[in-house]
């Protein structure tokens, strides 16, 4: 029977998810939701998760010694190397299995979590290396579009116009100028990889993709749009809603790339303007106060439209044509 949210809820009423309540993340943060959905799916499918975490909000908030929120094996090494670390763990597993030192029937899931800073920026090299080497691991990016552990600085994922402390909106410079880096395309370019986008606002799509990623015979990458309620300046109960809006406005299309084959997994019957997504967030407040705000929003609309069209074209062009 396929997994559903209801089924997961039933399974985990009397069972540990792997991360407990009592961590010190902000109320309403989407990151723990992302982590929980990944862990629940993995455990429900019979995997023993081993977690690697990059330095960031979730890592510092969940392991304040002498406490830990983790009841599954967990390792934090440094900021930029979670992919390399988990590739070492996965390799150790293969070595020890070969040597007959671990029970052969155990089904492990080697899962790395990283924020956008630890993935798009400083950790990109280690991520690329680990994917290229083909480690059987699942890398989950929780993308809040800023460096939150150090207090809302720009990252390679921050969208243009968002106000951050290292690319602030000033009298001369209108905040971050550059577009968001397309991490899924970068990862998909490694060819033998499963890469997909998810959001906590679309849980069934999320669970299905985690299942597929875990069963993929090689490296898998999941990018989860993960609102930071502090930096995005939205109410504590809005993280999930806003990710739905991100999908409906084409800001965060839900799709997957399975060895080069694109598939858009959510095609809303009608779309909302991207301005809806921008206007409800405080981080774009200063952008919206500019005299040229309308023009910037128009450009952004054109950009997301073009990307959506491109995505559909990729889907059509790559249908039944996996690279390997």
């Amino acid at each position: 029977m396929p997994l559903t949210m209801k089924k997961l809820a039933e399974i985990f009423t009397n069972r540990e998810i792997g991360i407990t309540q009592g961590h010190r993340m902000c109320p309403g943060c989407a990151a723990p939701m992302t982590v929980k959905m990944v862990l629940m799916t993995a455990k429900a499918l019979g995997y023993e998760p081993i977690i690697g975490f990059a330095t960031g909000c979730m890592e510092v908030s969940s392991t304040i010694f002498p406490y830990t929120s983790w009841s599954v094996p967990y390792i934090h090494n440094a900021f930029e190397n979670v992919a390399a670390t988990i590739s070492g763990v996965e390799t150790a597993y293969r070595a020890l299995k070969k040597a007959g030192k671990i029970p052969p029937d155990k089904k492990y899931a080697f899962i790395a979590f990283g924020g956008d800073g630890g993935t798009y920026d400083i950790g990109l090299q280690a991520l690329s290396g680990a994917i290229e080497r083909g480690h059987k691991m699942l890398y989950v990016l929780y993308d809040n579009e800023g460096y939150m552990n150090t207090g809302n600085q720009r990252s390679g994922s921050t969208p243009p116009g968002a106000d951050t402390t290292t690319a602030p909106v000033g009298k001369v410079v209108p905040g971050k100028l550059q577009l968001k880096k397309n991490i899924v395309e970068i990862v998909a370019g490694h060819e033998y990889v499963y890469a997909a986008t998810v959001t906590p606002g679309e849980p069934m799509d999320f669970i299905n993709k985690i299942e597929k990623a875990l069963q993929f015979d090689g490296p898998a990458f999941i990018a989860s749009l993960s609102p930071c309620v502090r930096y995005w300046r939205v109410d504590d109960d809005k993280a999930v809603d806003i990710t739905k809006l991100a999908v409906q406005t084409k800001y965060w299309p839900l799709y997957e790339v399975d060895r080069g084959v694109y598939r858009v997994t959510r095609k809303p019957a009608s779309f909302k303007p991207v301005a809806d997504f921008i206007k409800i967030q405080g981080r774009f407040r200063l952008l919206l106060q500019r005299s040229d705000a309308e023009q910037i929003l128009n450009e952004l609309q054109q950009y997301v439209d073009r990307r959506w069209e491109r995505l559909l074209a990729f889907e059509e062009a790559t249908k039944d044509k996996p690279i390997r």
């Binding site: 392991t63 304040i64 094996p73 670390t85 070492g88 290396g129």
Partner: protein, 391 residues
């Protein structure tokens, strides 16, 4: 004792050969001159099925150290090797490996740090990791590279130690120089290192642990104290491991090797391959009736202070040769030796000579000059001097 087999091999091959016999579970490595042949030899062993080791051909040294940390935490015996810029790139994770108490063994083929770029030997790379919490061993010759690589595994994994070990060999001088090496039979090495018993492995999902927690001012200091104590335990454990190694090999190791130190009044202290040259000069001077000796340092971290004090107290003059500089301070080995001698009853006159940076040769006449200065009591403790430098 095992039957003897002698191979004519380089330091790099000796390190790789020892690694092959140890047969760790995981090796992650990235090439850099002059360490490259270690990775190459080992990759060939893997390709030929001579070891069951899983090798991770990572995309950088930073990832090499990150991956061996992951592998060791998972419960594997893990090794790597590097040089200079590679070690510098690892730096952040070198500390993490020691602080997580992971018994990783790493071959370091000593090479000068940039800039300017230079591929030849000095100890600036090793010295930059002096305070990282790794045990640091230095080799005089290729035999020692082989022996100490094997010995390091047992030392690192001892339950009272559980610290990573760097086995340093001089770039090119040892790594690319062919010497006869007496190797042990595979089974003897396997038996000596035994099978690895990990503590708190990540793969034991029935007993989940958290590695790398956030440790604020309420606990960090106590954890560092534990690490300091673990390092002190090495003073107790190293002789036991060295004795066991002696039993299988007939070769004795210690923190330091005193060479012609009986009644020596003038002593040189040094690390690494230059000890060979110094020994020759000591022999020459001894044949001329001069009371000279050498104190070779095998273990630089933890620093063998008690041995330094015991061997050097009441000598007339001590010259320390450093193959690394410390900008704005005294050279690292000199500083450590001088500091140890502050406490002895009768302090010798001291002199500091820096030599061999970027692979510059240390010639017998340089060593002879240093001894002559010592014998003339023409040394100033506060003046750093240079051997083989054009001024």
């Amino acid at each position: 004792m095992a039957s003897k087999k002698v191979l004519a091999i380089t330091g790099a091959e000796a390190a790789a050969y020892a690694m092959k016999q140890i047969e760790p579970d995981v090796v992650a490595a990235y090439p850099i001159t002059p360490q490259t042949p270690i990775v190459e030899y080992f990759a060939k062993y893997v390709a030929d099925g001579e070891v069951r080791t899983e090798m991770i051909p990572v995309e950088s040294e930073h990832s090499a150290m990150s991956a061996v940390v992951g592998a060791a935490a998972a419960g594997a015996r893990a090794m790597t090797a590097t040089s200079a810029q590679g070690l510098a790139l690892m730096h952040e994770i070198v500390y993490i490996a020691a602080s997580m108490r992971l018994p990783i063994v790493m071959g370091v083929v000593n090479r000068a740090l940039s800039a300017p770029i230079n591929i030849h030997c000095d100890h600036s790379d090793a010295m930059s990791e002096r305070d990282s919490g790794w045990i640091q061993l230095f080799c005089e010759d290729v035999q020692e590279v082989y022996d100490l690589t094997i010995l390091a595994v047992k030392l690192a994994e001892h339950e009272d130690v559980r610290l990573p070990v760097m086995v340093n060999q001089d770039g090119f001088i040892l790594s690319h120089g062919v010497e006869p090496v007496e190797v042990l039979p595979d089974e003897v090495v396997k038996k000596f290192v035994g099978s690895y018993k990990p503590i708190y492995p990540l793969l034991d999902t029935d007993h989940p642990v958290t590695y790398g927690a956030l440790d604020l001012y309420d606990y960090y200091f106590e954890h560092k104290r534990q690490q300091i104590e673990a390092m002190k335990n090495v003073y107790r454990i190293f002789p036991l491991v060295a004795e066991e190694f002696y039993k299988i090999s007939g070769r004795r190791y210690n923190y330091v090797e005193p060479y012609k130190m009986e009644n020596a009044e003038f002593v040189i202290v040094a690390l690494g391959s230059s000890n060979g040259t110094i020994k020759d000069v000591v022999d020459e001077l001894r044949s001329e009736g001069k009371k000279v000796g050498l104190l070779k340092i095998w273990m630089f971290r933890p620093f063998p202070k008690a041995e330094i004090q015991r061997y050097l107290t009441a000598r007339k003059a001590v010259v320390v040769l450093d193959r690394a500089a410390s900008f704005g301070a005294e050279a690292p080995l000199y500083e450590a030796v001088k500091s140890a001698l502050y406490e002895v009853a009768v302090r010798p006159l001291m002199g500091s000579f820096v030599y061999g940076l970027g692979g510059r040769d240390l010639k017998p006449e340089h060593v002879r000059y240093a001894f002559e200065r010592a014998m003339a009591l023409d040394l100033v403790a506060d003046r750093e001097e240079y051997l083989g430098l054009r001024e």
